[in-house]
């Protein structure tokens, strides 16, 4: 518990987490506003459409926040002070991952419900109720997906240590690589089915065809999709802990 408090003080005593949180909220909720505003009066604004901003853009900013939480420690060498205060490195780094994940979870929930609320306000006559389990996952699920993405980003931050490198890798992978893999002949589509963010999308949006980006082609059920995404994040974190333990700080 003590270590969690330490990481909380560290995270909130600098400005970048606040900025990243604000940008995430602005992107997610703002995107919902744009879509709601652009939907013709005679058409229906759908619930998944209010959530595109979060699952497509907000997640990237949350990963930047998470990666920076670690890489700035390496950049300014406060990681050494940290390991000096807490010589057992794994608990210290796990505490950081947990705190960052919790912050990402909160940001995700505020963003998702904020976006939905704004959609309801702007389109009071459209059906934006949470009727099915998938509807709930689509909105409330954004928090857990943000949290796991944050863990993944923390792990990558520990491994790479440089802000620019870690962020570039995360964003290029998230925004381009998963899509481009599909272009590989024959096997591309099969690989794509198992790539983490594609699988996370399956959890959020199921396989219902709605307007916007195509649904995930993952063969997993939404529940297993989340478990798979969590597994990948945890494996990355474990590898990062192993490396950090052996490495000179």
């Amino acid at each position: 518990m003590n270590l969690l408090a330490v990481e909380r003080i560290k995270l909130f005593s600098t400005r970048s987490p606040w900025w990243c949180a604000l940008i995430t909220l602005a992107l997610t909720i703002g995107f919902a506003a744009i879509i709601a505003g652009a939907t013709p009066a005679d058409a229906q604004l759908t619930l998944p459409a209010t959530q595109f901003g979060g699952s497509q853009f907000g997640i990237a900013v949350v990963m930047v926040l998470a990666a920076l939480a670690v890489t700035t420690e390496y950049r300014f060498n406060t990681i050494r002070t940290t390991f000096q205060a807490v010589p057992h490195r794994s608990p210290a780094l796990v505490a950081k991952a947990i705190v960052v994940a919790l912050v990402a979870l909160v940001i995700g929930e505020i963003a998702a419900f904020g976006a939905l609320g704004l959609g309801m306000l702007m389109r009071p006559n459209d059906d934006l109720g949470l009727h099915t389990a998938q509807d709930w996952m689509n909105v409330a699920g954004l928090g857990p997906v943000f949290a796991l993405s944050a863990v993944l980003a923390v792990a990558l931050g520990i491994l790479i240590r440089h802000s620019a490198g870690a962020i570039a890798l995360l964003l290029i992978y998230y925004l381009a690589v998963e899509e481009l893999v599909q272009l590989i002949p024959k096997v591309g589509a099969h690989i794509h089915e198992w790539l983490p963010f594609n699988v996370a999308n399956k959890f959020l949006r199921g396989s219902a065809v709605v307007d916007g980006p195509p649904p995930s082609d993952s063969p997993l059920s939404p529940g297993w999709a989340l478990a798979y995404f969590a597994g990948i994040a945890i494996v990355f974190l474990l590898v990062a802990l192993g490396v950090a333990k052996k490495r000179d700080a």
């Binding site: 003590n2 270590l3 408090a5 330490v6 003080i9 560290k10 005593s13 600098t14 400005r15 970048s16 700035t72 420690e73 300014f76 060498n77 406060t78 050494r80 002070t81 940290t82 390991f83 000096q84 205060a85 807490v86 010589p87 057992h88 052996k246 000179d248 700080a249």
Partner: protein, 312 residues
């Protein structure tokens, strides 16, 4: 209190610290002296468990660093004053450190007061001058009221006022009965603060002794002699009970002046090629002792100049 045995650190092909053994006595200020690049910082990082030794080990009060429970309460360290997040306030920096070792938050204001940073406690640490950063680093080291304190080049880059402040502070810590291990590349500085000296060069131990011994040895006047009959000369000088140290193609004679050496050589019909008294300052002598073990010779003269000026 601090005990290093066979400590070795290798970075790729470079041997930064080689089979280093020394001990730091409790309740005293021990200087850790060596030229730049001698491996002082690496050794300090290994003491704190930040770098893993390639071989050997170092213990504090019989325990390895990671075996210490709440280590900030046992060992306080200032390795680099710039190890602070520039956008975090001085107080927040100390707060998270205090929290991590269950040190009461009231202690944060206490140490800020001790180093005189109370007025700027809420300011971002990135805007601090080097002297202020150094004070913050010392506040962080004192946070857990530790028995052992480690400082790496604490006066480096400070103005005279800052140097004086640090020097007085070290004395105060020693008077309080704490164990202080402080590194420096300036012998003159160490002569003023430390009662014991661990001297290293190129990662190897050169000597461990009391500062008094080291200074008297370092400040000793010697005579350098070159001769084609070096072996005979050495025997003759040793019979006359002079201290003789062999160098490359020369002897460094101590405890005897050049007149007497010349007379001994003449009476033994030994040809001399050089007979030069070596009188030097403390710093020059120190460089002579560690001279072979300086890693980077470039800029040594400039550094010597700087050293001599700061010694004034």
């Amino acid at each position: 209190m601090i005990e290093a045995t066979g400590l070795t650190k290798r970075y790729g092909k470079t041997l930064a610290v080689n089979n280093l053994s020394f001990s730091v006595a409790a309740g005293q200020v021990t200087g850790f002296l060596g030229p730049n690049g001698a491996g002082k910082s690496t050794t300090m990082r290994m003491i704190l468990g930040l770098d893993n030794p390639t071989g050997g080990q170092v213990t504090i009060g019989g325990k390895k660093y990671h075996q210490l429970k709440e280590p900030l309460r046992t060992v306080g360290a200032l390795l680099d004053a710039k190890w602070v997040h520039p956008n975090r306030s001085a107080r927040a920096h100390l707060q998270w450190m205090a929290k991590s070792n269950r040190i009461p938050v009231s202690r944060v204001d206490e140490v800020l007061d001790t180093v005189g940073l109370t007025n700027v406690a809420g300011k971002r640490a990135g805007g601090f001058s080097l002297g202020m950063s150094q004070r913050l680093g010392i506040a962080a080291a004192l946070l857990g009221d530790p028995e052992v304190l480690l400082f790496d080049e604490p006066v480096n880059g400070l103005d005279p006022e800052g140097i004086l402040w640090i020097r007085k502070f070290m004395h105060r810590l020693a008077e309080e009965g704490r164990t202080v291990f402080v590194s420096s590349h300036l012998l003159s500085e160490m002569a003023l603060t430390a009662s014991n000296l661990v001297v290293i060069g190129r990662g190897e131990l050169i000597s461990q002794s009391s500062t008094e011994d080291f200074v008297s040895r370092a400040a000793e006047n010697t005579v350098k002699v070159r001769s084609p009959q070096l072996a005979e000369l050495r025997d003759a000088l040793q019979r006359a009970s002079a201290g003789v140290v062999e160098e490359a193609n020369a002897l460094v004679v101590s405890g005897m002046d050049s007149d007497k050496i010349g007379e001994i050589a003449a009476s033994n019909r030994i040809v001399l090629h050089e007979l030069s008294p070596q009188t030097g300052s403390l710093e020059q002598a120190f460089m002579q002792i560690t001279g072979d073990s300086v890693e980077y010779h470039t800029g040594l003269d400039a550094e010597a100049q700087h050293v001599l000026e700061s010694a004034k």
